[in-house]
């Protein structure tokens, strides 16, 4: 199996991480060696195996739907890289 530059660029789009040519080549090399290593799983037949999604064998507990935390709006907004009064600010989306 081989991950080519086109695939790297596709994954980088999906990941929302910009990559230039040089970085794409480095990533292709790294990912190919990692996937060579991962391919080992194909030695195993797993047709009748149930996938394990969680090791915690519990059912989710229900709880009453009540607000417990205080209003932290100002502190939460303060962590934002760019804010305007009560809003997060992002580059213009609609022309």
């Amino acid at each position: 199996m081989s991950i080519d530059l086109k695939t790297i660029k596709h994954i980088s789009k999906l990941s929302r991480i910009s990559v230039d040519e040089k970085k794409a080549e480095k990533l292709a090399g790294d990912l190919n060696s990692i996937f060579d290593f991962i391919e080992k799983l194909n030695e195993l037949k797993t047709d009748n195996v149930e996938p394990l999604t969680s090791v915690a064998e519990t059912t989710l507990k229900l709880r009453s739907d009540e607000v417990k935390s205080k209003n932290l709006r100002d502190q939460v907004i303060k962590n934002s890289p760019k804010e305007n009064e009560d809003y997060f600010v992002v580059p213009k989306v609609i022309e």
Binding site: I11, S33, L44, L52, N79
Partner: protein, 485 residues
């Protein structure tokens, strides 16, 4: 009392309770030693002035019934601490100040401990050497230019160098046990669901667990007592009857059945590790345990499984870092461009690599071939342990396939770095508890650890085995304070 920082947690607690020492004296001693130890680069954020202030207030009105009365403690910078910057070792969280406290740290402060600062770690806990941290690598106090292990490398280094009496780390694939092994300290990864994940910066949610890192097994048990609680804020926290791990600790392990898995004799394993393991078996026998050969046939598939499951979960957890609500933002021409530049400049190379792997294995057309396949193999790995535990009470293995390596030695080859976790990763995949205890030295004088793996929720049993073996091993850490001028 001069050598305050040389005392174990249990000694410090005893001395504060009997008023031989005050919290201020203890806190001052650890702060002073930390200040002289900047070269180790264990701290990302220091909070010494507040710590000394809190210690003073504790002494004015001491509550000596608490389990950690006035004990200063630095914690891994993956735990959110209210009003104190929490970075996860990443540029993208460089300025993040949480408005909430992680449950595990809250439990610790509730018992009287005092926060001294936040400890360095691999970025988002992704690494085995602490070299992926945005805040630079950490020195292992054992030797200059030696990695302290990872991802809890600041934590292991700080405990070994006696800059904090005890600490907490997190372990997704070995991040507590491997650094403990590399620094001659003790590290426990509890059963999945034992310690709340609330307020811990998420890496791979089905694997992440917090746990204690300490100078010795007793201290580890005392802290586990404090941090393991059921928490409704974590939907995978498990409501089971917890032991009083410290109080119930015993060296009587007579008749305990300890399994030795033949698959852990991996190709190319140094003879030193094999010898250490054999010695460990003898120690366990000396303690009255019965040794039984077992098989965990899917061991070799654990790392490939992990490198699908963990990046897949990470790619989804790390989607939240978008430069909008908190953290670093790079300017872009439009919204998408801003996202892409923020994440490209804000995340380091290893984190980007893992996000890309995770995105790929979850992407359309590949999900079944990779992610679903890995979940099925994960089931087989868990079945191996379930079968083994029909015959034995615990399993003994080496903690790592080598001793600590040099800074820079493995940074160019991700797969060789990943192989470090070969003995620890299966334990996370199966959700089991595992503890690493120092058990000897290699030819270079670097520490080596042994791992004891338990049944789910059986922390007390592996702590007891570790406690009994610790006495027989009688390990001495060779730390010369070379970094103190």
């Amino acid at each position: 009392m001069s050598d305050i920082t040389k005392q174990s947690l249990s000694e410090l607690v005893e001395n504060i309770k009997s008023k031989k020492l005050s919290s201020s004296e203890v806190t001052k001693a650890f702060v002073e030693r930390s200040e002289k130890s900047k070269e180790l680069n264990v701290y990302i954020t220091e909070d010494y002035a507040n710590a000394l202030d809190k210690a003073k207030r504790f002494d004015e009105k001491p509550n000596l019934d608490l389990k950690l009365p006035g004990i200063p403690m630095a914690v891994k910078d993956l735990f959110c601490t209210r009003d104190l910057r929490t970075t996860a070792g990443s540029k993208i969280l460089n300025n993040f100040v949480p408005t909430y406290e992680s449950t595990v740290t809250q439990n610790i402060w509730n018992e009287g401990a005092i926060l001294m600062g936040k400890l360095n770690c691999d970025e988002f806990a992704m690494g085995s050497s602490n070299e992926t941290s945005f805040f630079g690598n950490v020195q292992n106090p054992i030797d200059k230019n030696l990695v302290p292990g990872g991802s809890s490398g600041g934590s292991s280094s700080a405990v070994a160098a006696q800059l904090t009496p005890i600490t907490i780390g997190t372990d997704t694939g070995g991040s507590i046990r491997q650094p403990a092994s590399f620094t001659g300290t003790v590290g426990l990864k509890p059963t999945y669901g034992s310690c709340s994940r609330y307020g811990i910066v998420a890496f791979a949610s089905s694997l992440d667990q917090a746990g204690p890192m300490a100078q010795n097994v007793k201290d580890c048990a005392l802290l586990q007592d404090v941090i393991s609680t059921y928490d409704e804020k974590d939907s995978t926290s498990i409501d089971f009857k917890r032991n009083e791990y410290g109080k119930e600790l015993t060296k009587d392990i007579k008749g305990k059945k300890i399994g030795i898995p033949k698959e852990y004799r991996v190709d190319g394993m140094p003879k030193e590790i094999e010898d250490l393991w054999k010695k460990g078996i003898e120690y366990a026998k000396d303690c009255g345990a019965e040794i039984i050969d077992i098989s965990l046939p899917h061991t070799n598939y654990a790392l490939p499984t992990y490198y699908i499951v963990a990046p897949a979960e990470a790619s989804s957890n790390l989607a939240r870092y978008d430069g909008v609500k908190y953290g670093f933002r790079a300017e872009g021409e439009n919204l998408i461009d801003m996202y892409e530049k923020t994440r490209s400049e804000g995340f380091g190379a290893e984190v980007q690599r893992r996000i890309m792997i995770g995105t790929y294995v979850l992407s359309s057309g590949y999900y079944d071939a990779y992610y679903l396949k890995a979940q099925k193999v994960r089931k087989l790995i868990k079945n191996d342990f379930d079968d083994a535990y029909k015959k034995v009470d615990a399993i003994l293995t080496p903690s790592t396939p080598s001793s600590a390596f040099k800074i820079g030695e493995k940074t160019n080859d991700p797969v060789s770095m990943y192989l470090n976790d070969i003995f620890t990763v299966p334990v996370n995949l199966a959700g089991l508890p595992g503890i690493s205890i120092p058990a000897g030295h290699d030819a270079k004088g670097y520490p080596l650890g042994l791992q004891i793996i338990g049944k789910a929720f059986d922390e007390q049993n592996i702590l007891n085995i570790a406690y009994a073996m610790e006495e027989k091993i009688n390990f001495q850490n060779n730390i010369t304070d070379w970094w103190i001028k």
